[in-house]
Structure formats: structure tokens, C-alpha cells
């Protein structure tokens, strides 16, 4: 079908002055393929089915809108965690601020170096999962990312990683526009934890492609920073093999526009895939969108989607989540819950839960709710002497508990819980 003129115009305008990074090896072809995919789909407009609730205009515009920097004196997140810190400033790798890129059980390289190496495992991953993830729902901004990514790292996990890797994104330039692409390949039986913290840039596109081989374990804990004016689109594409575990959790504070897409494909039996998220937003200009697609293409697998949103003063939250159970994916156990806590009458939660099932012996459940603070519980806490605001915050954390429980590492969960408490006590 021919693309609508608006789409063609939007796409060509965006691409008119871009420079596709050129390398010495396979990267050029991967980028060219992505560019071809993009031109075939066109960039999204508000008329697209999956962009009905989120306006993509500022993400597809030629120039990135500026975003003020956020300062406070808090200790950076995960500061006390023994980790390999990889720092990007406005989307550019900062070697001086980063740790040595070494840890037991992992091999870390910059994306550009991997792309310039003729024979490299990354060739079979870069843009490959993204291309697979374009069906049945198109994700043109991901193809744009693959074509234009200017930096990133590629990580191969060969054993039990001795410590987590932490991508630390710093936003220092109010007009920065960053395109980052990272790869993680977890080899059979290997274990790895990836942490991501910070807002990256005024506008950023981040993509993560993850391959988890048989019996591998991948944990992902991400916090998206508090720079309110930033605009972000992130994609996570993962292919999950038999007996492996994939768990991703994202905490988002503030943000005028955040769209987090997560596309998981379970291809091996007995695998587990969880994706969860918490966002807290205050104000009519807060907009947060979680778009998730999990495909079950194997037997006896379990997937969970747990998304909770706390919205106040006219904030908007969006959830579009789908479980697709392919023919033959028997004994699938799929669970999806999306809930919002609306702290006033002006906040909005838009949810589109979807199930599509082609196997007859599966257990899939989904639920979506919007609600206010439970007055009876509020009175119960206050009758015990807890102040109104503290009681409300406690009940808010209670509402978020199911999502926070998705973080396997109790220490990391506790740190995020503390930050949430801080945010809630500042937004009364």
C-alpha cells in the first residue's frame, strides 16, 4: 500500500539533512537496510493505530525541542553498587568518566569498533531483532535508530558476570539529540545484569537488542531520570531461548514525552520473560507511554507484564500491551496487568490490553484498572496516627509494590523505592 503523503513528507523532511555514520565494515549495510525498512514504513504520525494516544510529532521533527537540565544534590542512583560504569554524555561515550570496560564473564566494546570488525558476533544481532520486531506492528522509530545510531556498546556475556554493567546517561546540553544503540548477547548459561540510569539528552532514541541463549539470565533495571522537558523513545527487542530468563524493569520520573517499547519473542521452551514498569508523573505536560508486545512461540513458557502508573495534576499515562500466543505454544502462562492510580479528577490513563491466542491449552489473564486512593485504607492509616500525606504516600507505594517486586535484586529495588518515596514527598 502506498504511504500517505503526510508520512512521506515527514520521513523525507527528517532524513533530508541527516548523515548516516559510515564505518569500515558490515555496519554500513546494516544501516542501509534499516534505512530501506524505514522508507518503506514511513515515520509515525498521529493517525497510526499505535500512535493514537501519543503524539509522535516531537520525536519525528527535524530539530529536537530544547530541554532544561535538572539539578539536585542527590547522590547518583546505584552509586554504591559494585558495577562497570559506562558513561554517555548527551549520547556520546565518555571514556574518562567511565570505568575500565572489563569485568569477569563479559566482553565490552564500543559499537563503532564492533561495526568496523569484519567478522563480529554483533553483525548477527545489530538491527536483526529490530527487523524481526517490525511485524506485525511497525516500529519505524526503531529502524531510524538502527540507521542513525552514533554511539553505543556491545556486550557479550560468556559466563556469570562478576558485576553489573551500568549505562549512565548524562544530559548536559539543553539542545542535544542523541541516538544510541546497545547490544547484549547472553551466551548459553551465562548471567548478566544491566543497569541504566539518567535521561541521556534533550531528545533521545535508545535501542537495546538482547539475545538470551539457552539457560541464560538477563536482568535489566532502568531509571529514566527526572529531566522533565526531555523527550524519549526507547526500544528493547529481545529474543529469548529455552530455559532462559529475561526480566526488565523501568522506573520513570517526570518527562513531557516518554515512549518505552518492549518487544519480546520467546522462541525456546520453558523460558521466562517479565517486563515491568512504574512511572510517576505530575502535571498536564507529563506523558508516558508503555507499549509492549510479547510473542510466545514455544511450549511451557511464562510471561508477565506489570505496569503501574501514578498520575496527578492532569498527567497522562498510556499502556498498550499485547500477548501473542502462536499456534503450538501450548502451556503458555501469560499475565498482564496495567493499573493507574489517579490522584485527581484531571489525570488520564489510556489502556489497550490485547490478547491474541492460537493455542488451545494456555492460561492467559489480563487486567487493567484506574482508581483513586482507597479512602477506607487512608482512614485506617490516619487512625493510627500517620499523617494524611504520609498515609497517601504509603498507599501509593502499596499500589506500586507488585511492579517493584519484579526486581529480583532486593538492594536495587530498595534503592528505587527510596527514590520513589523522595519523589512522592516532594510532590504533595
Amino acid at each position: 500500500m502506498a504511504l500517505a503523503q503526510l508520512k512521506i513528507d515527514t520521513t523525507e523532511a527528517r532524513l533530508a539533512d541527516v548523515e548516516v555514520p559510515q564505518g569500515a565494515a558490515w555496519g554500513n549495510a546494516a544501516r542501509a537496510d534499516a534505512m530501506a525498512r524505514l522508507r518503506q514504513m514511513g515515520l509515525p504520525t498521529k493517525r497510526d493505530e499505535y500512535w493514537k494516544y501519543t503524539d509522535p510529532t516531537s520525536l519525528t521533527a527535524v530539530a529536537a525541542p530544547e530541554a532544561a537540565l535538572f539539578h539536585n544534590d542527590e547522590v547518583p542512583l546505584f552509586n554504591a553498587v559494585d558495577r562497570v560504569k559506562i558513561v554517555f554524555v548527551d549520547g556520546v561515550f565518555d571514556a574518562d568518566a567511565s570505568d575500565d570496560l572489563t569485568a569477569e564473564g563479559v566482553e565490552i566494546e564500543r559499537l563503532a569498533d564492533a561495526m568496523d570488525t569484519d567478522i563480529h558476533w554483533a553483525k548477527d544481532l545489530y538491527g536483526v531483532l529490530e527487523a524481526r520486531g517490525q511485524k506485525p506492528v511497525e516500529r519505524p522509530l526503531a529502524a531510524l535508530n538502527t540507521a542513525l545510531a552514533t554511539d553505543g556498546v556491545v556486550i557479550r556475556v560468556t559466563g556469570k558476570a562478576s558485576k553489573p554493567v551500568n549505562f549512565v546517561y548524562l544530559h548536559k546540553n539543553t539542545a542535544s539529540d542523541a541516538v544510541l544503540h546497545n547490544l547484549v548477547k547472553v551466551e548459553a548459561g551465562a548471567e548478566f545484569t544491566l543497569l541504566e540510569t539518567g535521561p541521556a539528552a534533550a531528545r533521545f532514541s535508545k535501542q537495546l537488542e538482547v539475545e538470551v541463549a539457552e539457560g541464560g539470565t538477563f536482568h535489566h533495571v532502568r531509571s529514566q531520570g527526572r529531566d522533565h522537558e526531555r523527550r524519549a523513545v526507547t526500544h528493547c527487542f529481545a529474543r529469548i531461548a529455552s530455559n532462559s530468563t529475561f526480566k526488565s524493569f523501568t522506573l520513570t520520573f517526570n518527562g513531557v514525552l516518554t515512549r518505552n517499547e518492549c518487544v519480546l519473542e520467546i522462541v525456546g521452551d520453558e523460558a521466562t520473560a517479565h517486563v515491568a514498569g512504574v512511572c510517576v508523573g505530575d502535571g498536564t505536560d507529563f506523558h508516558h507511554d508503555d507499549t509492549v508486545f510479547i510473542t510466545h512461540d514455544a511450549v511451557n513458557c511464562e510471561s508477565r507484564q506489570v505496569f503501574k502508573k501514578v498520575l496527578r495534576n492532569g498527567a497522562t499515562g498510556v499502556f498498550q500491551g499485547k500477548i501473542l500466543v502462536k499456534e503450538g505454544a501450548q502451556k503458555t502462562d501469560g499475565y498482564q496487568i496495567s493499573q493507574s492510580l489517579l490522584l485527581d479528577d484531571d489525570s488520564v490513563f489510556l489502556a489497550k490490553p490485547e490478547l491474541e491466542i492460537y493455542a488451545d491449552d494456555v492460561a492467559c489473564s489480563h487486567g487493567s484498572t484506574s482508581g483513586a486512593i482507597d479512602e477506607t485504607a487512608l482512614f485506617y492509616l490516619r487512625s493510627r496516627g500517620v499523617s494524611h500525606d504520609d498515609a497517601r504516600n504509603l498507599l501509593t507505594l502499596s499500589f506500586l509494590a507488585e511492579a517493584l517486586e519484579e526486581i529480583a535484586d532486593e538492594g536495587l529495588a530498595e534503592e528505587l523505592r527510596d527514590r520513589l518515596e523522595g519523589w512522592l514527598s516532594r510532590h504533595r
Binding site: 482512614f379 490516619r382 494524611h388 504509603l394 509494590a401
Partner: protein, 251 residues
Amino acid sequence: MLEIKGLEVKLEEEDKQILKGVDLSIEPGKVHAIMGPNGSGKSTLSYVLSGKDGYEVTAGSAALEGADLLDMEPEERAAAGLFLAFQYPVEIPGVGNMTFLRTAVNAQRKERGEEELSAADFLKEVRAKAKSLKIDAEMLKRPVNVGFSGGEKKRNEILQMAMLEPKMCILDETDSGLDVDAMKLVSEGVNALRSEGRSFLVITHYQRLLDHIKPDIVHIMADGRIVKSGGPELALEVENNGYADILAEVA
């Protein structure tokens, strides 16, 4: 301790008068019981005293040690020494029982200008008090009241009471949903808290709770008023003859 005079209360949402002039005076260290048929206003009285939304006081007063209760927020009433053991304790998923208790204890101490309890002191105290109520470490760790049996929930209420050390305790049908053993345990917990400076208002349908928690004075409430007061023998009279005789007598 607690002084209620001519208290009249209606529902906020609809024009329905629930309390039609309640007078009640409780001395320090005394245990009063209120009995009465369904819909007589017993639970409403407990909610109004502790500050639940949805009720409008149209006349009268209620004071705790001379301080006007009706003017205070629920948390201020708690800090002033009022405690309500709920008929239906609320489940709060995701908030550990211990965290909840500590938050409550320290919130009240803070409100009263006292220093917060250290984690170690708190732990020591809560363990000792939990033990006598047969509340184990597992129950303390679990989210507040989530998955608790009826008896566990009520024991948890008494534990909160023991930790918060209120001056005026209101027990709203604490015996409902309890088997004989649980009732004994809960009653022992309450009796252990009886002291010269602490008063109780026990709301119940049945005399059997009052076998365990012996009241000084028993009141019969009907149609929004206290219609008769007497000694413990009044509860026995209700048990034997029901409310009909008493109501006919005062009518």
C-alpha cells in the same frame, strides 16, 4: 477521660440521623461496654469519635481529657491518645506490618514532640508484645493484614494498640469472626493493657466477650441513644432475654 454530651450525628450523603443525642462519660481506668441491636448507631459512634469521613455532627460534643475531639484530624486524635480497633481491619498490600507499625508509632511520637524510637528499641518492643499475642516473626513481615485469618487480623489490631499505648481504646465488635480460642487470646491481650490511666469502650453484640473483658459499666444503645446503663448484670440480662424487654421497659 472521654466526655460525650448530646452528640447528634447524621450521614453526610443522605438526610439520615444516626445518633440522636448520646451522653457518655468514661472515667480513667474504666471499661465501658456498649451493646445494642443492629443499626442502633454503635459503630457510627466509634467512627465519629475517631474521625472517619462521611458523618456530620449536628449537635453536641466529644472531648478526650478536655480536648475537643471533633475538631481534630484522625491522626491528631490518635496522637492525643485515641485508638479504634476496627471491626474489619484493612488489608494493605505491599506495606510490611513492621514498617506500618513503626511508621505509626513514630508518627505519633513526632506529633507529641517525643523522640522517634530507634530501630533496635522498636524491634525489641514489638517482638515482646507480638509474642504474648502469639504473632510470629512471619506475620510481622507480611504485608498489613494481607492473607491474615479473621483471628490474626484482630490480634494484629491488639498488637497495634499495645504498641501505640493509647489512653482511650475503642473496640468495635472485636469479637466478630473470632472462635473461642482466638477470643480468649484477644481478650487476654486487652486485659494486659488495662491500667489506671487507660479506659476502654467495648462495642459488642454478645455478652460472651464481656466474660473475658469484664466491664465496669454496660450501656444499651437503641435508635441513636443510650437508653439504659447498669453494671455487668445488664449484659447477662441481654444475653438471657434479648433486647426486647429492655426496650419495652424504657419506651
